[in-house]
Symmetry: C2
Subunit: 276 residues, 2 copies
């Protein structure tokens, strides 16, 4: 049997009882650690589970499905993923490959950022399409995701922005080489995301476009949701570009033009004053 098990968002104890039992009984257990990260490392998980884990990096997950699935028709193999198993396309694809090989699979769900963002008090039913904000480079500065925010705002909905992470990303120079060289991991912060959004707003304003979103638009910065060190801040987009919420992972919510009174009351506890 092949198991794909969600670990939730915080520490080792966020695994479900069902998930933990399976982890303890499996022959091989892989830890996927490039589409997201927990606030704890592999060692801490191994200590809690009382067993070794095999780190499944990008190469192993995207190219080495055969290695991971090897023998899973006779033995029990598990792939642990941060959040919920269906949070990333990669994992859906992985299950399809298991099915192709005639390997039975079982999914163990857990919290993901898509529902845990509710912790800021905004109602999950008032969110529109979720977007991803990628790291810009000097030559690649896409802003097509901004149209989705505009659309959500028009529909009076909030927008959850998932912020880019780069883990085990090969350097441009090493892409053609036999031995890849990897860049240090980096995780987009709420201030970096807000800065990119402000640049897009400015550019479109200059071009005469009325996006309906200004630097005064309220937003929520979230860091390490679901962990003990979770931090939330509510302020304007402009102020968010100067906010430091500490270590990864960060997410950003663009608040829609309408809030329910309970949403407003709940958010108030995370409000920071506008900086002059």
């Amino acid at each position: 049997m092949f198991y794909i098990i969600g670990l939730g968002l915080g520490d080792p104890k966020d695994i479900t009882v069902k998930g933990l039992e399976i982890v303890k009984g499996c022959d091989r257990v892989y830890l996927e650690a490039y589409t997201s990260i927990l606030t704890c490392g592999k060692e801490e998980l191994e200590k809690f589970y009382g067993r070794p884990l095999i780190l499944a990096d990008r190469d192993l997950v995207e190219l080495g499905a055969n290695d991971i699935l090897a023998g899973a028709d006779e033995k029990d193999v598990a792939l642990l993923v941060v959040g919920d198993p269906f949070g990333a396309t990669t994992h859906t694809d992985f299950i399809l490959r298991a099915k192709e090989k005639g390997i039975k699979f079982q999914v163990v769900h857990n919290a993901s950022i898509l529902n845990a963002v509710g912790c800021c008090g905004l109602q999950l039913y008032s969110f529109g399409e979720t977007i991803s904000i990628p790291f810009w480079t000097d030559t690649w500065q896409p802003d097509s995701f901004f149209g989705k925010i505009i659309n959500n705002v028009k529909n009076r909905l909030h927008t959850l922005c998932l912020l880019d992470i780069k883990v085990k990303e090969p350097t441009l120079e090493s892409l053609t080489m036999k031995k890849k060289v990897y860049m240090p991991p980096k995780f987009m912060t709420v201030s970096e995301a807000a800065l990119q959004l402000l640049q897009i707003i400015d550019k479109r304003k200059e071009a005469g476009e009325d996006t309906g979103i200004s630097e005064e638009n309220l937003c929520v910065g979230l860091a390490r949701v679901g962990s003990e060190s979770q931090q939330l801040r509510v302020c304007s987009l402009k102020t968010m570009s100067t906010v430091d919420l500490g270590g990864p992972l960060h997410s950003l919510i663009i608040i829609g033009p309408y809030m329910h009174p309970v949403e407003m009351e709940y958010l108030e506890q995370f409000r920071i004053c506008q900086q002059q």
Copy 2:
């Protein structure tokens, strides 16, 4: 401390390790059982936790916050909810009341239907606004939610439809009486939901409106997501109105006009042929 703990969607073992530890150590533990249900009952949970639970029905949660929170400034009290704690407005409101009383609180997240629907293979990032379909009565047949589906379809997004549940609903006759009489619980099925949608489509078609959604629109019926008896079916809305997926809870997805190849491939395993 007041704890609000998500139980996930399936059986007793879907609680997280963190959640279970808290449940075992609390003075009083309430089980909220009217905004959603697990596939197991209170007795099974009590057996698994090795402790008694207090059933928190609608009256107790909405009117009896004082009772539930009593003494939580000195003792440990937990409220268990199906799915994730922030899945229902009621729970957000509950935390606000704890804050008003100066009671510290901690949230333990878990899977909710909002992320677990990913189990059908549709990407969570391709969903628009989530809607709720209410039970119609002879005199109350609202269809305003249909506008949101139209909007999602226009934006090439899927729509998750949460289906109404009525638990401990007082009868109309007993509303003015001192002693309320309650209706038997009922849970909307995918076929009931599809039937209501077909009626709305027909009505709007007759009125000359082009909704962009027809009885041939593909949809996914989901039952008891996250449990061992989980069932998924993919078919037209018309066929869905005849499909029986067994016991509660059910959810329905209206598939948007665009699917990624991986989404299509994954859905294929749940496809049922059109009935003649």
